[in-house]
């Protein structure tokens, strides 16, 4: 005689989360590769200025982790999209899940990946400074180490941004799963809003909303609120999406 077992949501979400963590290390290794590419490109500096006067010429090269940061955000957006593709969602339904536990465990995975990205991104900036310093110790004219607290601040900001971008990626991917129209519509909207200059650019407004923030506390609140709205919205619109097609 086989007894029906009553499911515990918490357990299922936890199992799904563990499943995804073991099954999808590519999510993390792809971040590492992305960051290493950005690191290699950053070795040339992000910009330079030079000045000459008679017999004296000074050229200043600026180094920063900007590129690593932007590559990481790109990765986060794509990671969000990747997790919505049918193959991955179907695999979830090979085991025990319903749509809610599937979403929640995926969100947990994306947040974990965002936190990992948030930790390694500022640290890779550190490594960049060290490598530059070691290769030209005499040419460094300003401080190498970031100010105390800057690392932590950077960690928090990067984590929030990565969480936001992966959340938007997830929404994008799910919309595309709902209707193929969005595959064309979303890039068109993004590119379109860049070209619409007359202050109405939603994208620029959105960027200003987050990037213009001056307090980490307020950024955290804004980001957390955004996640708390966008994720449930995504879950709601896909609650009747059929799987294992």
């Amino acid at each position: 005689m086989m007894y029906l077992t009553e499911p515990s949501l918490k357990r299922v979400i936890w199992n799904q989360y563990l499943f995804k963590m073991t099954a999808l290390p590519g999510l993390f290794t792809s971040l590492i590769l992305t960051q290493l590419a950005a690191f290699a490109l950053s070795l040339d500096g992000t910009g330079g200025t030079s000045i000459g006067f008679d017999t004296i010429t000074v050229r200043i090269t600026h180094f920063s982790g900007d590129l690593i940061f932007y590559f990481t955000l790109m990765w986060a957006y794509i990671a969000g999209i990747m997790l919505t593709i049918r193959q991955y969602r179907n695999a979830d339904f090979f085991f025990v899940t319903n749509r809610w536990t599937q979403h929640l465990s995926t969100i947990a995975l994306l947040l974990t990946a965002s936190l990992y990205a948030g930790i390694v991104t500022p640290l890779l900036g550190n490594l960049l400074r060290l490598v530059i310093y070691w290769s030209h110790p005499d040419n460094v004219m300003t401080a190498i180490a970031p100010r105390p607290g800057e690392l932590l601040l950077n960690l928090l900001i990067t984590t929030w941004y990565a969480a936001l971008l992966s959340c938007f990626g997830y929404l994008t991917g799910m919309l595309a799963q709902l209707n193929r129209v969005f595959v064309i519509l979303i890039p068109a909207l993004i590119i379109g809003s860049v070209y619409v200059q007359d202050s109405g650019g939603i994208l620029t407004a959105a960027i200003r909303f987050y990037a213009g923030e001056t307090s980490i506390l307020l950024l955290s609140v804004k980001a957390a609120l955004t996640l708390a709205i966008v994720y449930p919205f995504t879950m709601l619109i896909t609650s009747s999406l059929e799987v294992r097609r």
């Binding site: 299922v12 099954a23 749509r99």
Partner: protein
């Protein structure tokens, strides 16, 4: 107790009708064969039962719950087909461990022994297996999960005859030791008719038959003999199939009916049983006439 109950269940995509007004129920701890030709709607039906698809209309309950988005159904059900792609990073052993996390009745020992029996290396990866071995592995997962509702959608795709036999044997032994409700879809019946208790025959989205396989074996008979005599005996009966073979051997397949049989015997006509496999073929024949007609026409 019924594990599955369907009432007027229909499913359509855009313009295409996949399932039409199915009403049936599946008793607990039975092995039911879901039989039908390719594209008959077997997979659609099974995926609605599993909670993957949503019915367009009608009602369905599994374990007295609507299966779509039901945690209870997902937890007590496993669905095995050969379409599934699992993340390539997982080894066979990883997949078994994962299944063990999810399914409370999971028997890891059994799965490991079966892997060993079929010479499957636990450290191999699913996407490196041949089609047949892949099906074998997934079937093992389906059996070891010991879910109260186990659904196999064409589980033997790519398996060779020996492995198919082993699989059916394993399925039966598992079922005897741990009875559960099993749905087994196939377009072929003859290999598994001994295994089944019930048959659910689907044709073009409609339910043709749902009855015990033993009754299916006596469902129809072939009456063989002189053409005119046979036609006279079976007059006004529904004829599933007519076939002329040789000069005086004309066969008609009809629903078993004692009156007709008695009459046939009196006229010295031969009466032959029809295998369940053939009945299913005749009942679901959707081609125009027979394949022979195609050639007859081109030759004349």
């Amino acid at each position: 107790m019924n594990v599955i109950e369907c009432r007027q269940l229909s499913k359509s995509y855009l313009r295409k009708r996949a399932l039409h007004q199915l009403t049936f129920s599946i008793r607990e701890n039975t092995i039911t064969g879901v039989i039908g030709r390719n594209g008959a709607g077997k997979t659609t039906l099974l995926k609605i039962i599993a909670g993957f698809y949503r019915p367009s209309s009608g009602e369905i309950t599994v374990f007295s719950e609507r299966p779509f988005n039901s945690m209870k159904v997902s937890q007590n059900m496993i669905y095995i087909d050969d379409q599934i792609t699992l993340p390539t990073s997982l080894s066979l052993l990883d997949i078994l461990h994962m299944a063990g996390r999810f399914y409370p009745n999971w028997d890891h020992d059994l799965a490991a022994r079966m892997l060993d029996y079929f010479n499957l290396d636990p450290l191999q990866h699913l996407h490196h297996l041949s089609k047949g071995l892949r099906s074998t592995f997934l079937a093992i997962v389906g059996l070891a999960a010991r879910c109260p509702l186990t659904i196999f959608d064409e589980p033997t795709t790519g398996m060779d005859a020996a492995i198919r036999k082993d699989f059916y044997r394993a399925l039966l032994k598992e079922y005897l030791a741990h009875p559960r409700t099993i749905l087994l879809s196939s377009h072929l019946l003859h290999e598994l008719d001994d295994l089944l208790e019930d048959v659910l025959l689907i044709d073009r989205g409609e339910l043709k038959l749902h009855l015990p396989v033993d009754e299916l074996k006596e469902y129809a008979v072939a009456i063989i003999g002189d053409r005119e005599l046979v036609e006279w005996v079976i007059a006004n009966r529904t004829v599933y199939h007519r076939q002329q073979s040789g000069i005086s051997r004309y066969a008609a397949i009809i629903r078993r009916d004692e009156d007709v049989l008695e009459e046939a015997r009196q006229h010295g006509l031969e009466i032959a049983p029809v295998s369940p496999e053939d009945i299913c073929v005749y009942l679901t024949n959707q081609t125009k006439g027979r394949i022979d007609d195609v050639f007859d026409r081109t030759e004349s």
